[in-house]
């Protein structure tokens, strides 16, 4: 006889940027319902209203301590658009280089400080690689943790050289960047990059970037893994071996929709050859049913059917959207303080996996076809994203300041106007929509990557990406629901970025989603 049991659990998650609680129901050992709750409200958008146009360059980086340069870039792109200024090539390079350095830091810190510590959970006591995992990933002491802290802070020195400090600088301004790096500054950045690359190749990949670039199919990946001890024992090799035994490739499927706003604009003249696009290193696009379509920001809407916000009827574009809080009891269906961003009416997952899908990376696409999106694949995409960034950074550094050395182009500050700044932040698609009126910020809307990934249901009842990824998950031991932790952390959630998250007065599991 099958025992029918249903139990509600509430689990706070740490090692996500900020505070998150997952409310889930387990029925017959399987997650049958889920709500994710951001438990902090910071109100950054409201802080910006009425302030001077450039103040967003100081305030929005402070939304997030691990991706402040991403917010700076989104903020400055919106202001570039309002000013109607073309950013000179060297400034494009400096903006890209600094964001890339921050991304290298993020991808490795997320993987080894936030994600793999779950491998040391008591849930894995029986895993054949448990002891080795503890040796590598024990908080503040594991071998990989220690070297990750050491190496990631060094790559951030590039941002300090080019932009003054990390985190929370404001060196990007409409028309370019404020700094004028000299030849020695660039040389120092090149040395820092070379050292980081050396560590990444030796410790994380276990091989050169050139050898890794030959891995184009799942069969190539197996060949690579079995080729050498260095590959098996690198952190990438270890991650794959551990994850396969733990069957993380069968965990956290979700929708098969992806969105990317496009990452890293190419300067007009550069030797960097993007894999599949002229404009971006990782192209913009929307991916659905195995097909990619061109991206158009006009198709973004915010749905509030299941959110505690006043509805205007049909979902609106962020420029048109207003945020009017509605008392929870007015709409009994609403369970979320978060809006549901949709692209052409669809939910979409965003992050490194989305970027590599859009770039048609053969290995990632083949693995996606085989198993669908999953925890292993999301984390693999994050771990190998540096293989694309490192060579591009090397080229940009060689080219910076070589031509006419223009890092800033004068422009007139507009009193009124509107613009948007879209970037790929480290966890995915980030947009700032800015309206200026009479020399002040009239409206500031931010949609963060986590808003996409943690979206609640929309008017059609379709779940957001990580809700969908969690439903149906088998939980082996409800005392240590490591499956939930893996799935959520594979999206690299950034709760501090969820700027208009408001806590709900939750009733049991029908509590609150955020953003």
């Amino acid at each position: 006889m099958i025992m029918h049991s249903k139990k509600i659990h509430v689990m706070p998650l740490n090692r996500v940027e900020g505070d998150l609680e997952i409310h889930f129901e387990i029925e017959n050992g399987m997650v049958s319902e889920v709500r994710s709750a951001g438990t902090m409200y910071r109100g950054f958008e409201n802080l910006l209203k009425g302030r001077a146009p450039l103040d967003g360059l100081v305030i929005t980086p402070r939304i997030c301590g691990i991706c402040s340069t991403s917010h700076l870039k989104a903020a400055v792109k919106a202001l570039d658009m309002i000013a109607g200024v073309n950013v000179p090539d060297d400034a494009v390079r400096v903006r890209n280089l600094t964001l890339m350095a921050e991304q290298l830091q993020n991808d490795l810190r997320h993987t080894f400080l936030l994600f793999t510590p779950d491998f040391t959970s008591p849930a894995y006591r029986e895993h054949s690689l448990f002891e080795e995992a503890v040796k590598r990933y024990r908080p503040l002491q594991g071998e990989t943790v220690v070297t990750t802290i050491r190496e990631t802070k060094k790559i951030l020195e590039i941002i300090a050289i080019l932009g003054g400090q990390w985190p929370h600088s404001s060196f990007m301004v409409p028309g370019g960047v404020v700094s004028v790096p000299g030849q020695n500054d660039i040389s120092q950045c090149r040395s820092l990059l070379a050292n980081f690359r050396h560590w990444y190749e030796r410790r994380v990949l276990g091989c050169t970037l050139a050898r890794w670039s030959e891995v184009k199919t799942p069969e190539d990946l197996d060949l690579w893994l079995h080729e050498k001890r260095a590959h098996q024992e690198s952190d990438l090799g270890f991650f794959i071996r551990f994850s396969r035994e733990a069957q993380l490739h069968q965990l956290g499927n979700g929708h098969q929709n992806f969105i990317s706003f496009g990452a890293y604009e190419m300067p007009l003249e550069t030797s960097v050859k993007p894999p599949s696009d002229e404009l971006y290193l990782f192209p913009a696009g929307f991916f659905e049913n195995g097909l990619m379509s061109p991206f158009d920001q006009e198709k973004i809407t915010e749905d509030v059917t299941f959110s505690h916000f006043k509805s205007h009827g049909d979902p609106r574009h962020p420029f048109e959207e207003t945020t009017v809080i509605e008392t929870p009891h007015i709409n009994n269906d609403a369970y979320s303080w978060g809006k549901a961003p949709r692209y052409d009416g669809h939910p979409a997952e965003t992050g490194p996996l989305a970027e590599l899908v859009m770039a048609s990376d053969p290995l990632i696409k083949a693995l996606l076809k085989k198993d669908g999106p999953n925890v292993l694949l999301r984390q693999l995409a994050r771990l190998i994203r540096p293989t694309f960034l490192l060579p591009a950074m090397d080229c940009f550094l060689k080219e910076t300041g070589v031509g006419n050395e223009i890092f800033y182009r004068k422009n007139k500050q507009q009193e009124s106007g509107r613009g948007f700044g879209l970037v790929q932040a480290h966890r995915g698609a980030l947009g700032h929509w800015v309206t200026l009126q009479d020399g002040k910020i009239a409206q500031y809307q931010v949609i963060t990557p986590t808003t996409w990934n943690a979206s609640p249901r929309d008017g059609k009842g379709i779940r957001g990406p990580w809700e969908e990824a969690l439903v149906g998950t088998l939980i082996k031991n409800p005392e240590h629901p490591v499956e939930i932790e893996h799935t959520i952390r594979s999206f690299d959630p950034c709760m501090v970025c969820c700027v208009h998250a408001v806590v709900g007065h939750g009733k049991g599991p029908t509590a609150k989603i955020f953003c």
């Binding site: 740490n14 908080p139 802070k153 003054g164 404001s170 370019g176 404020v178 004028v180 240590h480 939750g506």
Partner: protein
């Protein structure tokens, strides 16, 4: 003798944690090792499961586990309407846990401007405040009379973010039982009696009043571009950021992020001034003398500075 450390995050961005990871010689793992500090809990770095974390909290509050150093990052969120429900943990206001922990801690450190003075959210519906200051005013969340078990007030380490050396140095002093002399806002004098401006490589331009009105130039940013370096205390140009540079050195004005009023209401990239002289002058400076000094300085400016030939 080893010490225990517990880190809690309130209304913040996590930036003080990530900034702390830039500590060098020793780095954070070496620092904890050298000082024999046992990290009981850090929200971004620990891997305790829920049950163990709850047990840890209970044992600290019941005096079974000593709490030597409590680091608080981010503001204390008291809103909306005094409920604290804009920042909760398992449905309860996080401010209650902060309050309970501060009652047990031997030393309390406010890491960053939000924890020190309230920072972002002090004027919003989140009703954010600092641990023992609300902007300039002593009091804040814990009140004027609060003393940690060591008998001292909350040690404020402002900065957005707090510089890693400042926190590392403060932890070293506490672990070695050395006295920390504090200024009027309870920040250690070692780092908070120097002006941000000291050590800026644009100082020669400043001396001769070679002032910029647009971005991307080498001169001083104080008169027109909103730089608060001569007005605000902080070690940015003494110990540098990420061991390399500072905002003012590369041409970003100082936004006064260590100041109790940060983020100020006035525009960040514009200096408020009267007839070309900033309204706010360095503390203790007479306006008449300053105007005379600056006009003479401008007259004495050498051509190499006027033509921006001098390096920065």
């Amino acid at each position: 003798m080893s010490m225990t450390l517990y880190w809690i995050q309130g209304g913040g961005c996590g930036g003080d944690t990530w900034s702390f990871l830039s500590a060098e010689s020793p780095d954070v793992t070496e620092l904890f090792d050298i000082l024999s500090i046992e990290v009981l809990w850090h929200p971004s770095l620990s891997a305790l499961d829920l049950k163990s974390k709850e047990q840890l909290d209970r044992r600290i509050l019941e005096d079974e586990v000593p709490l030597d150093i409590l680091c608080v990052e981010g503001s204390v969120i008291q809103g909306p309407s005094g409920t604290g429900l804009a920042d909760t943990i398992l449905g309860k206001p996080k401010k209650d846990l902060i309050s309970a922990l501060t009652a047990k801690a031997r030393h309390v450190i406010a890491v960053g401007t939000c924890a020190s003075f309230g920072g972002f959210g002090t004027d919003s519906e989140t009703e954010a405040t600092g641990l023992q200051f609300h902007k300039h005013d002593l009091g804040g969340f814990l009140g004027k009379r609060y003393k940690s078990k060591s008998g001292g007030p909350v040690i404020n380490l402002p900065g957005c973010p707090c510089h890693s050396d400042v926190l590392a140095g403060t932890l070293s002093a506490l672990a070695n039982d050395l006295p920390l002399e504090l200024n009027e806002t309870n920040s250690p004098l070692d780092w908070y009696r120097i002006m941000v401006h000291q050590g800026c490589t644009r100082n020669e331009y400043h001396e001769y009043r070679v002032e910029e009105k647009q971005f991307g130039e080498k001169g001083c940013l104080f008169f027109y571009m909103g730089c608060q370096g001569p007005l605000v205390k902080g070690p940015c140009n003494k110990i540098l950021w990420n061991r390399r540079s500072s905002k003012t050195r590369v041409g970003v004005p100082c936004f006064g992020c260590t100041h109790p009023d940060f983020p100020q209401r006035y525009p960040f990239f514009k200096t408020r001034n009267i007839e070309g002289i900033p309204i706010e002058l360095p503390a203790g400076v007479s306006r008449a003398h300053y105007m005379a000094y600056k006009s003479m300085a401008a007259a004495a400016a050498p051509k190499r500075l006027i033509k921006r030939k001098s390096g920065i």
